[in-house]
């Protein structure tokens, strides 16, 4: 089992979710983050004071998948999140040791989907 963390542009969430859905990857967790990457932040101005705004809003996706879903999931994210501009984000892949569905107590592969 793998655990995918993806950082994407806020306005790409819907596209990613749609493509994931097409691949039968429907379960995911989403949160709000701020990212600092290669993309330049936008300078803020406050009463005559300029401040380098180095953090930009990003969306973080977390998706646990069984190994055979990994590639299609990563592909869907790559395709949906890509604009070609700096700031598109990253996908991080982890080994997931175990997974438990709280409602049923099931564990392992079967609990993921």
């Amino acid at each position: 089992m793998k655990y995918i963390i993806a950082i994407i542009q806020p306005d790409r969430l819907e596209a990613v979710q749609k493509l994931l859905g097409e691949k039968q990857v429907n379960l995911l967790t989403v949160s709000q983050t701020m990212g600092h990457g290669r993309q330049m932040g936008i300078t803020r101005v406050y009463r005559g004071r300029r401040e380098a705004g180095d953090l930009l809003k990003k969306i973080k996706l977390e998706i646990a998948v069984n190994d055979d879903y990994l590639d299609s999931t990563v592909d869907a994210i790559k395709k949906g999140a890509r604009t070609g501009e700096i700031g598109d984000g990253k996908i991080f892949i982890f080994n997931l040791e175990d997974c438990v569905r709280i409602r049923t107590g099931e564990t392992g592969s079967v609990a993921i989907g």
Binding site: E14, I42, R44, Y46, G53
Partner: protein
């Protein structure tokens, strides 16, 4: 030296005096009614506060990244028009009429406008009180248009557009309807507090700007996520509160007419809110708070031209009718025709204003206001015709005029932000700010 200094000062004084001569102020307070003045000044303050409320009503409906751009457009309008109004706007709108079409420039810089009452406008209050009360209307009207082009207009383009619009669209239409000698006024058109001047005018301009600017990217899928609905309710609440100044204040005195307009206003707002809730209840099983807030505003819009001419039962019908029409506008017409009137400035203000102006021709009654006229339901079909003409004239003028202004500004300055700026949001790209911090 001393003489030179004195000379400069005298010149400066002359300059200031030229713009605002003492004479005009000399004989104030002869026929001023303190009660009426208290009412008109308080009303003016309340109408100014409406534009703040409008900012929150609209601001809550946009996405988080654009909240400041909307608030800024409203606040900036308060600044911009207040100064324009004093410099030349009031003169254009209410100055001595040039053929019924526009005010002359005789009152530029408020020359001749003083603390004594005017002969033609609000004759029991200082002319200044009437002038500033009207100025508040000139602020909120273009601010209403903001709802149509929200989330995608360049700030520089917005500023120039607003200056031109208030000068070439608002001032003339205002003159026609309310200016002494205005041609629609002469025709007998009834517009108590701004159905044509304010709401149709702004509503038509709204749809024009929405069409000229084009849709927001992602419209309609990813655009309607109101980021802060409590602000929408706050805005609607401030609007309702301020609208008493707008409508009852338009009586220009604290009298029975004002009380009647006050009651009509409150009743229509309430009926509008209820009607929208009922529609939603039938259609989606639950009424929404945005729906009720929208219905309240729709009711207020429609009662605006009628407030001083109709009784409370008519007000219920006018207010509820406005929600029905507004709902059709935003839920059916907009998707059907595909324009992106972001926050439904046309759907609510344009359609509600048209309905209100026509409804005035149906429900007006001399029993309520002997200085008004009877409407069709009270046996005077002609009034409905007059109203229809004034609506048509306003629509045509606002449509063509706004279109020309849009095209000119777009060519010279540019109306729309880049796709990248739109994606990042207007707050950061147009104002170097973001509404809320995320981390702290």
């Amino acid at each position: 030296m001393i003489t030179a200094k004195k000379k400069i000062m005298t010149m400066a004084a002359a300059l200031l005096a030229a713009l605002w001569p003492a004479a005009a102020l000399a004989q104030e307070e002869q026929q001023i009614s303190a009660g009426d003045t208290a009412f008109v000044l308080t009303s003016a303050a309340m109408v100014l506060f409406m534009t703040v409320g409008l900012g929150f009503f609209y601001g809550g409906l946009v996405r988080r990244k654009n909240i400041l751009s909307v608030l800024m457009q409203c606040m900036f309008m308060m600044c911009l028009i207040s100064v324009i109004w004093v410099l030349y706007g009031y003169s254009l709108a209410f100055g001595p009429s040039v053929g019924g079409f526009i005010g002359s420039l005789d009152w530029v810089g408020l020359k001749g406008v003083g603390l004594a009452p005017s002969d033609s406008y609000g004759t029991t209050v200082p002319h200044f009180a009437f002038m500033t009360f009207q100025g508040m209307f000139a602020i909120i009207t273009p601010a209403l248009i903001v709802g149509a082009f929200a989330e995608r207009m360049r700030f520089a383009g917005f500023v120039v557009f607003s200056i031109l619009w208030v000068t070439f669209i608002y001032a003339p239409v205002c003159h026609w309807v309310w200016g002494s000698g205005g041609f629609l006024l002469g025709m007998g058109a009834l517009d108590f507090a701004g159905g044509t001047v304010v709401h149709i005018n702004a509503g038509i301009a709204a749809v024009v700007t929405a069409v000229v600017l084009g849709k927001r990217s992602g419209y309609p899928e990813r655009t309607s996520s109101p980021h802060h609905i409590p602000f929408v309710v706050l805005g609607a609440g401030i609007l309702w509160f301020g609208w008493f100044g707008f409508n009852a204040g338009s009586a220009l005195g604290a009298n029975g007419l004002a009380a009647g307009a006050f009651v009509a206003t409150n009743t229509a707002a309430a009926a509008g809110g209820l009607a929208w809730a009922v529609i939603e209840w039938i259609r989606d099983k639950k009424p929404t708070s945005i729906g009720v807030a929208t219905g309240v505003v729709a009711g207020l819009v429609a009662i605006t031209p009628a407030a001083g001419f109709v009784g409370p039962v008519s007000a219920i019908l006018i207010g509820a009718g406005s929600s029905v029409i507004g709902f059709i506008g935003v839920a059916f017409l907009k998707p059907r025709f595909g324009y992106d009137d972001s926050l439904d400035a046309f759907g609510v203000h344009g359609l509600g204003g048209i309905w209100g102006a026509l409804a005035t021709g149906l429900f007006a009654s001399t029993a309520v206001n002997p200085n008004g006229a009877d409407g069709l339901f009270f046996g005077n079909a002609a009034q409905f015709g007059i109203q229809a003409v004034s609506v048509a004239v306003t629509i045509v003028y606002a449509l063509i005029g706004t279109f020309i202004i849009c095209k000119v500004v777009d060519a010279v300055i540019g109306l729309r932000v880049s796709a990248e700026e739109e994606r990042i949001g207007l707050d950061l790209t147009q104002h170097h700010e973001s509404g809320y911090t995320v981390l702290d």
